[in-house]
Amino acid sequence: MRTLEQTTQEVLELASKHFQVPAGSLAPDDDFFKKLGIDSLQSLEMLSRLENHFGIELPDYEVQGVSNFRALAERIQSRL
């Protein structure tokens, strides 16, 4: 079972890879909408990537209002 820290780190790595930003440039408390400049469709792409990576389903309504990586990792953790 992953720890929350591990999950957060994997989320950061996936986001960095998916949005092609330098690894290490993203931090757990970053607002990903502002930091990555993503729109709703891109956030859906990210949602699919996270679901595929972690082998979970993450309903949209559970991530609605979530804007930083740490909070996103917490939602994922609750489904692992």
Partner: protein
């Protein structure tokens, strides 16, 4: 006519296979222009029935297959009309899109939706009219209509009920959540999952296989296994119009149109 290029879509017949590509910015929202061009497609393709084995419907837009009905157009046309005229306009649109989707549903050749990205609302209803859905592994499917105080209006519920278990239909419809391609395949909505960017190629490979079979047997098999739920489709139009007449729907549409939220498709 064996090819067409319009304002929202284009199609071409080649060696027994029609490829129809939706191509309207930003995400193939289905409004009056796309509807008219789909009607033209249905009419022209019917003349090619005897020499067509398969039809692939895909999207030329990066965000996905289709984000659904053009809610901005719907709102702006509804707001400028009186109540009776508004309902008359919506019913007319629904009757026309139902005729298009019923024709695609009943086509004697095999229809394949090659889906990537978002496949929401009316976009999902178009895909559901097809015989086979091939999905990019990053595709997502949803019926978010309840957020507007509506139900899907392009035949979505009857077709989803025809194909899938009622429990999943309720989950998709009543939560409005989007599901990924893996889940969609697990419940039987998606026939084949393709690698990222490969849905159209997989659909073409599937179409090539289909062209090998006897046309009469293929058409008979399809007709036998895929009944069109006409009665429920009619009831859906009535129910949609009944719900659409409520002031709350116009308020929800206004909120959607004016939203700057990151996820405006959610309630």
């Amino acid at each position: 006519m064996k090819s067409f290029t319009g304002r929202t879509l284009r199609w071409e017949w080649r060696k027994g296979v029609i490829e129809l590509i939706l191509d309207r910015e930003p995400a193939n929202e289905i409004g009056t222009v796309m509807l008219a061009e789909l009607e033209q497609f249905v009419s022209a393709s019917a003349a090619l029935n005897s020499e067509t084995s398969a039809c692939i419907i895909s999207s030329g837009r990066k965000p996905g297959f289709s984000a659904g009905a053009d809610l901005r157009e719907l709102y702006h046309s509804a707001i400028s009309a009186g109540e009776k005229e508004r309902l008359f306009g919506v019913r007319g649109f629904l009757e026309r899109i139902h005729a298009v989707l019923n024709a695609i549903d009943a086509a004697p050749y095999v229809t394949i939706a090659a889906v990537h990205g978002v496949c929401f609302g009316g976009g999902l209803e178009l895909a559901l009219a097809c015989d086979i859905i091939v999905a990019d592994k990053m595709a997502r499917f949803a019926f978010p209509e309840l957020r507007l105080g509506l139900i899907p209006g392009f035949g979505g519920i009857p077709r989803l009920k025809r194909d899938l278990g009622n429990a999943f239909v309720r989950d998709l419809l009543l939560t409005g959540r989007s599901v990924n391609a893996t889940r969609a395949q697990a419940v039987g909505l998606v026939a084949q999952v393709a690698a990222q960017g490969e849905a159209l190629n997989v659909a073409r490979s599937t179409a090539a296989q289909i062209t090998k079979f006897d046309a009469a047997a293929r058409a008979a098999a399809k007709k036998f296994i895929k009944p069109i739920p006409h009665e429920e489709l009619r009831r859906e139009i009535d129910l949609f119009c009944e719900l659409f007449g409520r002031p709350a729907v116009m308020a929800s549409l206004k909120k959607f149109v004016e939203s700057t939220d990151a996820m405006p498709y959610l309630p």
